[in-house]
Assembly symmetry: C2
Homo-oligomer: 274 residues x 2
């Protein structure tokens, strides 16, 4: 099954655009076994999400044990829910091929995030896995995004928009999406207009301060779908005691509810337009 179909099926079944970032961070919670932690988070939230997104950095920081944790965490996720490996990989042709093999074949993820800085031959080895999803970093959610991503060409086109345009060109297998930070709503709006059919992975609504209403309004497609709204810290670490899983469920439910109310409102507004 193609990634986009798996994503839409999970999103419809759970009536959710919420994606939970499974980022075990010893700096934010301590005294837990992270496999128990991740499993409890998954058990408490799997009916509330459209996808899970482990960020590989947190697992690699724990060394080989961390990678074992990653594998066991993914095994625990119900098969109908897509898992996006957030590794932001990017390398030249034959090396990108090895990364794609690692993420899609060896570890079996449904999708991966990739960095566009190296251009075409860094993307193609990923997109050639036609059943898998490839999310290209476009406008990231962090403050440093301003350093280079807004660089304007002599024609006045900013770099992130050039990336979005290239992504359209590269998308011959229909499996490309874009990473668009919720912290830059105007950019999100313009990229959604440029790429009306692509799934957008939207981090940044939590501690980073992105506005949820704009993320939903500008991130969804014409059917109110294909926006993957990421929450990690505000769900995972909603409580730091033994009630963390119940607190995570409560936080995820509230977020999912807010998102769905926003989607309905936008739909109502659009249907009232002449």
């Amino acid at each position: 099954m193609k990634f986009i179909d798996k994503l839409l099926a999970a999103s419809r079944k759970n009536n959710s655009l919420l994606c939970i970032g499974l980022d075990p961070d010893p700096e934010l919670i301590s005294g837990v076994d992270f496999l128990d932690f991740n499993r409890a988070i998954i058990d408490a939230t799997f009916d509330l999400v459209c996808a899970y997104k482990p960020n590989l950095a947190f697992y690699e920081a724990m060394g080989i044990d961390g990678l074992k944790l990653l594998v066991k965490t993914v095994e625990h996720i119900p098969k109908y829910i897509p898992v996006i490996a957030d590794g932001k990989r990017g390398d030249i042709g034959n090396t990108a091929k090895a990364y794609a093999r690692a993420l899609f074949s060896t570890f079996g993820f449904d999708a991966a995030t990739v960095n566009p800085y190296l251009g075409t031959d860094c993307i193609e080895p990923f997109t050639s896995y036609t059943e898998k999803g490839v999310f290209i970093l476009c406008r990231t959610s962090n403050p440093g995004a301003l350093d280079f991503q807004n660089l304007r060409s002599p024609e006045g086109v900013p770099l992130y928009e050039l990336v979005a345009r290239k992504a359209l060109e590269w998308n011959t297998n229909g499996n490309i999406g874009l990473v668009m930070g919720a912290t830059y709503p105007e950019e999100l709006k313009s990229v959604r207009q440029l790429c009306p059919d692509m799934p957008l992975l939207i981090p940044g609504i939590g501690p980073q301060g992105g506005d949820l209403a704009s993320a939903v309004r500008y991130g969804t497609d014409k059917n109110g779908e294909k926006a993957i709204i990421v929450a990690a810290r505000q769900v995972l670490y909603a409580a730091s005691g033994s009630d963390f899983a119940a607190a995570a469920r409560k936080a995820a439910m509230e977020l999912k509810g807010k998102i769905n109310r926003l989607v309905s409102e936008i739909g109502r507004l659009l249907s009232q337009q002449p």
Copy 2:
């Protein structure tokens, strides 16, 4: 010891600017145990190099066993030779911190390559390890580098040069270097002029077709040092039979010799200038 001092000490001890990329690729050699393979390559070449550079993609493609292979490979490298983790990581602040912890603390590498697309907060967590080296991708060696890295600002400054300028700004701990592909000699020349003291990691002289003479001429600093000339496939897979290690030594010796002759010639030319 600071990375740059370790690099210069190894480079002077072995009289070499050659860095061997330890990239075990099952597509290029088969029927070998890759730990035996890597150890044999290291045994055959450690007195000929200034550094080793495993590209993490090839290890990740083998899953958890590949990461065990990586750890054991690094353990086999003599302690005085710096090891550069080529992972081209790049993520937002708190995640970049986890990547830096993974590479520098958990796995204990001496240096790492990072991707600049996310800007300042993706770089700082790496450079804050003041004893470690941080090589920022500037102009990569691949054809796709042209897609974005040459994008010119309205003032006519290409993106890769903006990255080099930012690198100078960020370099308050004196531990930043740049990745400059040998396939683009003019760009290498201009970046070396802009950053006269930074170590430059220069891939692309092998199957990618970069010119070795230009790499040495434009890549070295005023003392004929601080250029780290990378060779992987043309050394590792110089022969595909059981003589692979002897063939690798021969290939590495020839390359090291060529590089040193080029360094001497350039030194002679410079000393003859009025």
